[in-house]
């Protein structure tokens, strides 16, 4: 029910954006994320973008997981 999926912003017109996921396009509201820009990935929940996904933080989380795995191998 709180499901939200990452989608890419393709174009923006006022409070609406066209987003794409796996080749499927759809118009969504960006009234909750006016900072969204073309090329950003946003989390889409029931027709509304609820945040802009932070790519740097996503990479940082993966780095932390890799480090965790490396630490484990050292022990």
């Amino acid at each position: 029910m709180c499901l939200a999926v990452p989608v890419k912003v393709v174009s923006i017109e006022g409070n609406e954006a066209e987003v794409e996921i796996s080749g499927v396009k759809r118009r969504v509201s960006i009234v909750l994320t006016p900072e969204a820009r073309v090329g950003d990935y946003v989390l889409l929940h029931t027709g509304y973008a609820i945040n802009v996904i932070n790519e740097a933080e996503a990479q940082e989380t993966l780095n932390i997981l890799e480090q965790m795995a490396d630490l484990d191998e050292v022990h």
């Binding site: 990452p6 029931t46 945040n51």
Partner: protein
């Protein structure tokens, strides 16, 4: 898909699981609050892959499942009013109320339509100006801002036939209610990811402070959940429970300020009726007086018969984490996804539906 596939790396997951096994020296009991987490854990078989010291319980974080029978009965009563269209998210359609379900009411010719978004409902309202169009507004803090936005849009565009039956519920207050019940003796909570996109991580700070229970906000892919479990076990092992975020690509301490402002403009905090838990003060949202003309409770007069709970169904105990679907005598016998007795078997995020679908992964 970007931001999904890289968090499903099996080899990396195995290593993180090994690490959890190494740092976990004593049994811990964790609750994944959110139904979305339950599904991800069941689908990926994480329950059986985690070391035996780590116990995972499912919580009440499925809005369909925690909707009380009384509220389903009211939704059906609204749908049976003349010149009315009721709209609902699909999962709600088949949930049995006391005497019927929205699906049965539709079969009996009530005009009930499944929508994906409040936007769809506004469109239906515009296309049917002579009818009252009522959205059944279930959901947690993730969904509440979208309902607030729809009410503000209806006001701005002068859509006069749009109404909401507001059943929105709040997560931190129900976590407090569960902790106060004291049935579970939890060591840590995997906090809901998309609720926290909106509210941030700060609203959970009372949990480690007042209850000594560790909290980590988690994303929904297997690696997100494993990272959260690792962080929870570390907190518990070091005796320093606090609130951390394992889902930093989408969650901040303060949340989505615009969404919170919209919610505050349209809603005020009120009591809510939770299946299995009862009426909990300050655990739900009501439409403010200023927007009363959009409030289906104010706008329509309905009567419902006394509430009846299904015999033998233990959804309430399952939602509180006290029992699992395997403890239910009806599970996979009288109660299946095709013929559900309780809501946890209906919703795709319900524990019973997840155990039914992925149960083979859960034999330890």
């Amino acid at each position: 898909m970007k931001f999904i596939d890289e968090f499903r790396d099996v080899e990396l997951a195995k290593k993180v699981i090994d690490r959890i096994g190494k740092i976990s020296t004593r049994p811990v009991r964790l609750m994944e609050f959110c139904g979305g987490h339950t599904v991800s854990i069941m689908r990926s078989g994480l329950r059986q892959l985690l070391p035996p010291t780590v116990e995972m319980l499912s919580g009440p974080g499925c809005p369909v499942c925690v909707t009380a029978n009384a509220d389903i009965d009211r939704a059906i009563a609204l749908a049976n009013l003349p010149d009315t269209i009721v709209t609902s998210f699909g999962d709600m359609m088949r949930v049995p109320g006391s005497y019927s379900s929205l699906q049965h009411a539709r079969a009996a010719e009530a005009d009930i339509r499944v929508v994906y978004s409040t936007q769809d409902t506004l469109q239906i309202a515009k296309e049917n100006p002579a009818q009252s169009v009522i959205f059944i507004g279930i959901g947690f803090e993730t969904t509440a801002p979208t309902i607030a936005a729809s009410i503000l849009q209806a006001e701005a565009e002068g859509i006069k036939n749009y109404y909401v039956l507001c059943l929105s519920k709040l997560c931190p207050p129900i976590m407090k209610a569960l902790l106060d019940l004291g049935e579970l003796k939890l060591d840590g909570i995997v906090c809901p990811g998309h609720v926290s996109v909106i509210i941030g991580s700060r609203p959970y700070e009372f949990i480690p402070r007042e209850y000594g229970v560790a909290c980590v906000v988690s994303g929904f892919e297997p690696l997100d959940i494993l990272l959260s479990v690792e962080m929870l076990v570390s907190q518990i092992e070091t005796g320093k429970p606090r609130v951390e975020i394992a889902y930093l690509r989408s969650v901040s301490p303060s949340g989505n300020k615009i969404a919170l402002e919209l919610m505050d403009r349209v809603f005020e905090v009120g009591s809510a009726d939770w299946r299995g838990i009862g009426v909990v003060p300050a655990s739900g949202l009501k439409i403010r007086k200023k927007f009363a003309r959009f409030d289906a409770e104010q706008a329509f007069s309905i009567t419902t018969k006394p509430v009846v709970e299904p015999k033998g169904c233990i959804c309430g105990d399952i939602l509180r984490g006290v029992k699992t679907p395997l403890d239910c005598k009806l599970f996979n016998k009288a109660c299946t996804p095709e013929h559900p007795v309780g809501p946890c078997m209906v919703s795709s995020e319900g524990s019973c539906a997840a155990y039914h679908q992925y149960g083979a992964n859960d034999e330890r």
